[in-house]
Symmetry: C2
Subunit: 596 residues, 2 copies
């Protein structure tokens, strides 16, 4: 396929697209819904971008969020003011590259963007469903997507991707149709709404249903509509989509008009005008009953309620997962994405995760796609990140070879502080090990994804509690011991999650260092101001205290030229009889401000 | 005064109290309001607890929050189900100890708890004000409090205290009546609502004003009232008062009734019932116009808008301040309390601050008073914390004496990592220094408050940016250097905030340590697993790199028996010609996961 010369970053990559509609071929009794209702006829509005390969194996399905629709990218007419809602992500050379992938998005069931929903005509009455529209679930939405794709002749998806409610649909795809999805990307989502998000949703929905214009849901064709209620619900929702920092930066407490001195006037603050504008804009393009139907589905979505645990929910999953958390998202806080990753790990699935530093809050997946598109591009199978990774420095290979020699053949390995994945690549090459890397740095995580390995973005100092007991054959900690906050806790955690550990560190007991402190009175820091040096004796002392056996320890001349003479020790460790386990979490300890 | 035998912890300390009302003696033209309105008559509903001293110098005035009232403690009748809203805080032996203090609280202007507000009778019409009630400000509220207290014969307050909107009133007291307040305690508040809090408030107020029952504010005596709007506003507000963790713990996603399968039904989730209950409860006891009047005052309150900066706002303050932040408060996030403390510090005022670990969110100042009452009790002048502090260990005094000798006489000193204040006490005693301590631990902060010094609860590793440039003559860092994350940044910060610094640390270059590493190959840790040891040479190297002059360095035999032979170095430092300043913030650096 041709890259068409341009990289599409000018936003004109997709060009004009045609919205389409398909009527699902249903049995005579129609579509039976999860909560007992039935729909005699289901239409699906959709768009596609890029070309379906002859093998029909390059489709990326996009699941849209609450008030989204099928118009993801491009324009419906050349003079359209705005392109589709994720135009920055989808197109030639973009995160989801239409030079390689066939991209499909359909409006969700219960919506008002062309797919059957409460404002659609009820075939039996010839009038809009209104209050007669049966309740739908996220499972129903995804079932309709599956039937629709089958009708297009697409049996398998290269990937399914979505944020927020779209992420819940991604979860459903992975659970209900495990054989039809290769990769899943779940962004800023969760296995259910948090109680706080649920509370806002319930209060917002009450505003629609308390609006006299709602008329029990049968307002179509009447003079009054629940416009106030819908706008109000949107305003509450919109606050939850933005981070407090972003609100401060974008609006602060700026006022629109000078004070007049009389009572509370509307539009006093810019934030007020903005929210009213958002409310009005939604009323122009959205249906209140659709808002109720979809938020109701979202409120009820709860994998833990249905399956008991997330581990059980994900038991049948076969897809590789990329879970993306957004740092400033408080509607779906990063912890909910981490819980998804943890559930998948406990279920023994392949999962990667990123925690994007995204100041815009929940809406960052729509507004702030720069790093997100790099991560998605690296995770998708057919085309790598732009630029590509660096080859491993030759100087590092010596130490890595020693580590590799200690890693069990064909084992499952976790590399704590994995950098750009050089060691994981070597372990795969030399020992046939399947590996996952843990690293604090997003660039490193993207580099590891790009090389086809799994990577979990995380801070070792914040603990490894989300990695399950005994999930790995071997945990590697290369060069990272002196810079963690609680070396004792990290070693304990390594041996909780893995049968064995391999630890490499610069030996500060080597003779050159002994001279440094013994004669010169200087403790060698090697440029790491805050690192705590370890000697062979320190390490064995620490292991003894923790009930850890040192199975093997070898010495290796170090690599980097900046570390003249730095010798590394590489130790293989396992739980001893007196292994202390990990009662204390490896979270950052409260610093004792004064020594006794 | 008698402690009455009991400590009042059974909640029965105050007993039956009598609500009272006072009519302000106003000039014939009535009370002129800040935004131009005028009230011909102002009644003030209030309660008092404890006895006013003969010197009239023991009054603690409590400012209540949005929907609070004057009924702080005790019961109006012996069989009242519930006591006043802060009964746990106020009473014999409690945080605000009525054995020592005379406690007063009045309902705020614009409220509906007995003080003049929108539901009061307009003297000119004989009917409730309704839409004719003039807009009031927080400044007006406090002005009424001042006039009211004058009429009670109380010219000076030992302290004024309040949380949330009550905290804004405390700020007003400190600015507008600087000569009338000795101490100010401002809890979970800020100099203005954040844009996010403002946004929720604006949306909630819109619900009241859009309720057909509101009738432009003139609903008194009519059939319909804006009950739905008020309840709805309260529900939005109530979500913002609770932390997400607390909502999860208290309600989770539990459902009340089994699913019935038909559409969105009310009361599906426990959280929904709870919020509806909170809405209903407020409607029973509160007036919608009062809610609008008070939230409008809160929305508009903005010290930075009025004065330009907080430093300028606090220029006239004479009271000592205690600012209390609640960790899980997201309506008034801890950063807003820190900004108040910073503004007071920049204005050169005496300020202490605590950051309470309070899981309940904003409402923690009402619900979770245990630590809060200890801090308040320690800060108030007349009676100390229960138990009292320990006398300084004799063994520590040697090192402290050496430090004291390096601190300028009569200087302003900040002790970073101040512990329980022993060193501050010694510096005051030996050198006449006025000191403020910084410590991460609340108990230490309370101990320092209890000894009459100022204390700022904070983590040195998170930076000292809130301490102003050159605010101190001397910054002391005793025993803390090896446990900070970025020693270089901390030293730079010390010399940004102070003219000179004094640093004491265990000398790991002492011969006993040289033997430890030189012969035994062990780096001595002294029980601090994560501490980075410094030698004399390390320290002087570091200072040279940072452009810091070492003016003086002395050796002192250490104290504690656990540190056999541990010798301390005590260095006096100042900015050198090449002082690097503090471009890099001392925040925790991103750990490089792999050495080069």
């Amino acid at each position: 396929m041709d890259r068409a010369g341009a990289d599409g970053r000018d936003g004109s990559g997709i060009g004009v697209v045609e919205p389409r509609t398909l009527t699902l071929a249903l049995p005579p009794e129609g579509l039976a819904l999860q909560r007992g209702g039935r729909l005699p006829r289901v239409e699906v509005a959709y768009e596609t971008y890029g070309r379906l390969s002859a093998e029909k194996d390059n489709t990326v399905y996009i699941c849209h969020a609450l008030t989204g629709d099928a118009h993801v990218a491009g324009r419906h007419a050349p003079d359209d003011e705005k392109p589709g809602w994720w135009d920055e992500m989808v197109g030639p050379g973009k995160g989801i590259d239409t030079d390689y992938y066939h991209v499909v998005c359909a409006n969700i069931l219960g919506g008002c963007g062309g797919t059957t929903g409460p404002s659609s005509i009820h075939p039996a009455t010839g009038r809009p469903y209104g209050s007669a529209f049966p309740p739908v679930t996220v499972t129903d939405m995804v079932r309709v997507q599956k039937l629709f794709l089958e009708q297009l002749g697409i049996a398998r998806l290269a990937a399914v991707i979505g944020g927020s409610l779209g992420g819940m649909q991604v979860l459903e795809w992975s659970l209900r149709y495990p054989d039809c999805v290769d990769r899943c990307i779940c962004i800023a989502s969760g296995a259910s709404l948090s109680p706080q998000a649920l509370a806002f949703d319930l209060v917002a929905r009450d505003a629609i249903m308390s609006d006299p214009g709602w008329a029990g849901g049968d307002y179509y064709g009447r003079d009054r509509r629940p416009d106030w209620g819908l706008a109000h619900a949107r305003q509450i929702g919109h606050i939850t989509y933005l981070s407090p920092e972003m609100m401060q930066r974008k609006f602060g407490r700026r006022k629109e008009t000078p004070e007049t001195g009389d009572g509370p006037a509307p539009h006093r603050f810019e934030i007020e005008r903005y929210l009213r504008y958002q409310g009005r804009k939604l009323v122009e393009r959205f249906d209140a009953n659709a808002y109720l139907a979809i938020t109701d589905a979202m409120d009820r979505y709860d994998l833990e309620e249905e399956f008991g645990t997330l581990e059980a929910a994900f038991a049948s999953v076969r897809a590789r997962f990329l879970v993306v958390a957004l740092s400033s998202d408080w509607l779906f806080p990063p912890g909910q994405s981490m819980a998804l990753a943890e559930g998948l790990l406990r279920a023994g699935k392949r999962v990667s995760c990123c925690r994007l530093q995204a100041p815009y809050g929940h809406d960052a997946f729509l507004l702030d796609v720069e790093h997100l598109s790099d991560a998605i591009r690296a995770f998708l199978p057919w085309v790598g990140r732009r630029g590509g990774g660096q080859p491993p420095a030759a100087s590092e290979r010596t130490a890595f070879e020693r580590i590799a020699a200690m890693v069990p053949r064909g084992g499952r390995v976790v590399d704590l502080g994995c950098g750009n994945g050089d060691l994981l690549a070597l372990l795969a090459e030399r020992r046939g090990a399947t590996g996952v890397g843990v690293d604090i740095d997003l660039d490193n995580v993207i580099a590891v994804l790009d090389r086809g390995h799994d990577a979990l973005q995380g801070d070792i100092d914040e603990g490894l509690a989300w990695l399950p007991d005994g999930a790995y054959d071997c945990a590697v900690l290369s060069e990272t011991l002196p810079v963690v906050r609680r070396p004792d806790a990290v070693l304990r955690e390594m041996l909780r999650i893995a049968r064995e550990g391999v630890v490499s560190f610069v030996d500060f007991g080597a003779w050159s260092y002994r001279v440094s402190i013994g004669l010169l009175g200087r403790i060698p820091r090697e440029g790491q101001e805050t690192a705590f040096p370890f000697t062979r004796a320190d390490f064995t002392d620490l292991c003894r205290r923790e009930g850890i056996r040192v199975l093997d320890m070898v010495r290796a001349a170090g690599g980097g030229s900046r570390r003249r003479g730095a010798e590394r020790l590489i130790a293989r460790i396992a739980r001893g009889r007196d292994f202390r386990g990990n009662d204390a979490s490896p979270r950052r300890s409260r610093r004792a401000p004064r020594a006794p």
